[in-house]
Symmetry: C2
Subunit: 457 residues, 2 copies
């Protein structure tokens, strides 16, 4: 890690902070972003059509198990999962993709400001078909060009050990994927980086501003943004930059790691892969895998025709949630620091029993059982408490029209002063530091960390 990488945590966060404060950019002014995305959307003849499973090319139901797999054995499979926690047991279909994907953003410095190379990325699952994505989204399979397509652009810039600003492994949706994870990386390239068609250079401030809109910044970009370190001034007492701030944060991080280790060992999560055919209460129909009461999600096949993807057209299964989700983070500002109320959350496919999740995470109306704690408070909150409120898409390469409403609400200082079991107050600085370590904040919480930056920037 030479160049910028060696500059140390303070210089690194300063570099990011300067970029976050750059509210507009030289290469693609804010005023042009919307039109550019629209233009990309029009230029690319991109159509997604539902097809029965029999029309999926290269995908088949494995005899004996009913698992839906690609004939290459690569990409992902729809399998069955039997889950046991200390309070419940169930089985469900789940996406199993054991390989680690790469979500990478290339940055370069121009005029003292860090620019991020973002991609206008088509994905079949987005309701609006195209969103701002990291420079590279690659699985091992398409990195190695297994499906016969071409290698993703810029992938070669991530093979160097140098100039890495951010690098951590992060989880995906535990409700839908079995221990799925991605490497989230930001690299700094000192030399010339060509700007290819469909890519543009934006400051961190520009991207965060876009994040205030619905459905513009894709889930992978939000995840990578959440891993970017924040200046200590954001979290410690007003003049807390530098060592004192780091130490305060360090102690806070240790306290949360302890809390989470305790939570993980008190809870139980036993995951057992079973044949998809043997998942109770789910049926395979010609065009969907579905719960008998149409709960949670279905699995369907789509045909995709696109000009801008690594290959021009393909078919694949997608997971389609029956309802939109809600992820709400309650924050509180006291003594110059922002604190976040988070919960420990166990989901079917969670990598290590539990991760920190938003204050409220649910499918309003869709979940069984009583409404989750604080949902009533969130839905009844007056407008002046709402700091962030936008609908964002989840991953568009595996999920179809999976959207969630993300909210940040500010509570009074006395709110949940003694949080109930399974909830903990976390400073913003500690939360971002934990995010950087990987596998501690779930994907919804990471979107909200990025959203919180967008309103603090």
């Amino acid at each position: 890690m030479r160049g910028v990488g060696i500059a140390g945590p303070d210089a690194l966060t300063q570099l990011f902070t300067r970029s976050a404060l750059a509210a507009d950019g030289l290469f693609m002014p804010n005023a042009a972003i919307h039109d550019w995305l629209e233009q990309r959307r029009r230029d690319n003849d991109f159509e997604v059509t539902g097809v029965p499973f029999s029309e999926l090319t290269g995908w088949r139901f494995e005899p004996g198990t009913g698992d839906l797999r690609h004939v290459s054995g690569r990409f992902f499979a729809i399998q069955g999962l039997r889950v046991r926690t200390e309070i419940a047991a169930w089985s469900q279909p789940i996406i199993n993709q054991p390989e680690i994907g790469l979500l990478g953003i290339v940055t370069k410095e121009y005029g003292g400001v860090l620019y991020f190379l973002m991609q206008a990325k088509m994905e079949p699952g987005y309701a609006n078909l195209l969103q701002l994505a990291p420079t590279v989204q690659a699985t091992r399979s398409n990195g190695a060009a297994v499906h016969g397509g071409r290698k993703p652009h810029y992938l070669e810039l991530f093979t160097s050990q140098e100039h890495v600003l951010v690098d951590s492994l992060q989880s995906e949706h535990g409700a839908w994927c079995l221990r799925k994870r991605n490497r989230n990386v930001v690299v700094h390239i000192p030399g010339h980086v060509p700007e290819r068609d469909g890519f543009c250079w934006l400051t961190l401030g520009q991207i965060l501003r876009q994040l205030r809109n619905d459905d513009v910044v894709n889930m992978n970009a939000r995840s990578v943004l959440s891993c970017i370190p924040v200046a200590s001034g954001h979290n410690a007492s007003a003049n807390g930059a530098g060592c004192a701030g780091l130490c305060t944060t360090g102690r806070s991080v240790r306290r949360i790691l302890h809390w989470l280790a305790d939570f993980r060992s008190r809870k139980e999560l036993v995951q057992e892969i079973i044949p998809c055919d043997r998942v109770e209460q789910w049926r395979r129909l010609p065009d969907e895998i579905v719960h008998v009461e149409r709960r949670r999600f279905t699995v369907r096949g789509v045909r995709v025709e696109a000009a801008s993807r690594e290959i021009g057209h393909w078919t694949q299964p997608l997971l389609c949630p029956v309802d939109a989700g809600l992820a709400a983070l309650v924050i509180c500002r006291a003594v110059g620091e922002t604190r976040l109320l988070m919960q420990g959350r166990v989901e079917a496919g969670t990598i290590d029993v539990a991760e920190l999740a938003p204050t409220v995470q649910c499918v309003p109306g869709g979940d069984e059982g009583p409404p989750p704690r604080y949902l009533g408070w969130v839905l009844a909150a007056s407008a002046e408490r709402i700091r962030y409120d936008a609908v964002q898409s989840e991953e568009g390469g595996r999920f179809y029209h999976a959207r969630s409403r993300y909210m940040i609400l500010e509570a009074d200082e006395e709110f949940a002063a003694q949080p109930p079991d399974d909830y903990i107050w976390v400073t913003f600085g500690a939360a971002t530091e934990l995010t950087g370590l990987g596998y501690h904040l779930n994907v919804q919480a990471r979107t909200l960390i990025a959203a919180l930056r967008s309103i603090l920037a």
Copy 2:
């Protein structure tokens, strides 16, 4: 985390450092430890006898799979695992124990020195039957008294959120266990803690001194010791204590996390549980599960009769390696810091593809293929390079007579100046910090981190 816990990282490491420097203790002088352990060994009528599987009580081979399970569904199971990495594919029997165990040490301060409450613990797998263990070794199952025994002593001291000095999740042997992990905890109890029969108070210095001997400090204790933070002075430049030292270490930690994330995403590890009966090249005989060429390990049944355990007698399966292992760490001292040459290592049951492992980790003579890199150098090293050389037992509750030779060897500064792919130099300070984060150093590497402390103390 109040009391000592809130004192911050510096006060915390000072507390541990003072205890490490206390070469003898007030409660159990060094001279008495050996006799005390011998006395405990004699006092406890403890016998381990091999029995055919048919004589295991409460264990049975599941019809249809041949998995060896406890009738309660708890404890652990012997299942089959099919493994695929980017260079090899194989299947093998494996221990599957999805719950997180607790390895906890209670400490108290006396005369300004921290004392550790250690247990003389009988385990059926130890060749010498009894070793120094953490205060508590508990699975969820015996924590909840599932097998009808009594709860482990002192377990209640670990339920508080306060006074926690160390707390992280750590992996076990990836070659033998599927994603097995334990919570490693050190708590500080300000009030009176009764010293029960079979327990004694030792300083960290005393325990580290015992670690220089063969087969005294058990694997779980070594793992917990490896998580204890070290003073920055140990690793940064001479006057590196405090902030500058922390920042140097912080940068070093980030560099290694990046290296490991890259390694994990470049390598591949696909783990699929299969019926034990369908593991290729392995056979189930009446008294063992064995490789057709008697490679690697066998699984056998034992009957245990003991007075000191939670219950007086029981039967269980144990995994018996065919040969002793070797784990050697090459270190180098330069410019006032100690650096460790580590490798990224993928094993069948590794939690997240790979962890950092010792420079050499193998079963000399037992492994297939060419000898591992640096093995020749280690075995040919002259006596003055050898800083540590002791035989230690692996976990005695799952493995039978599983022993490894642990070595630390000092190389010249120019040794592996440009380490080959898959190897990395790590400062001692960064290695201990990474250990504290959990899941980054494998269990053999952690024993060597503890061993390194024993020779630096």
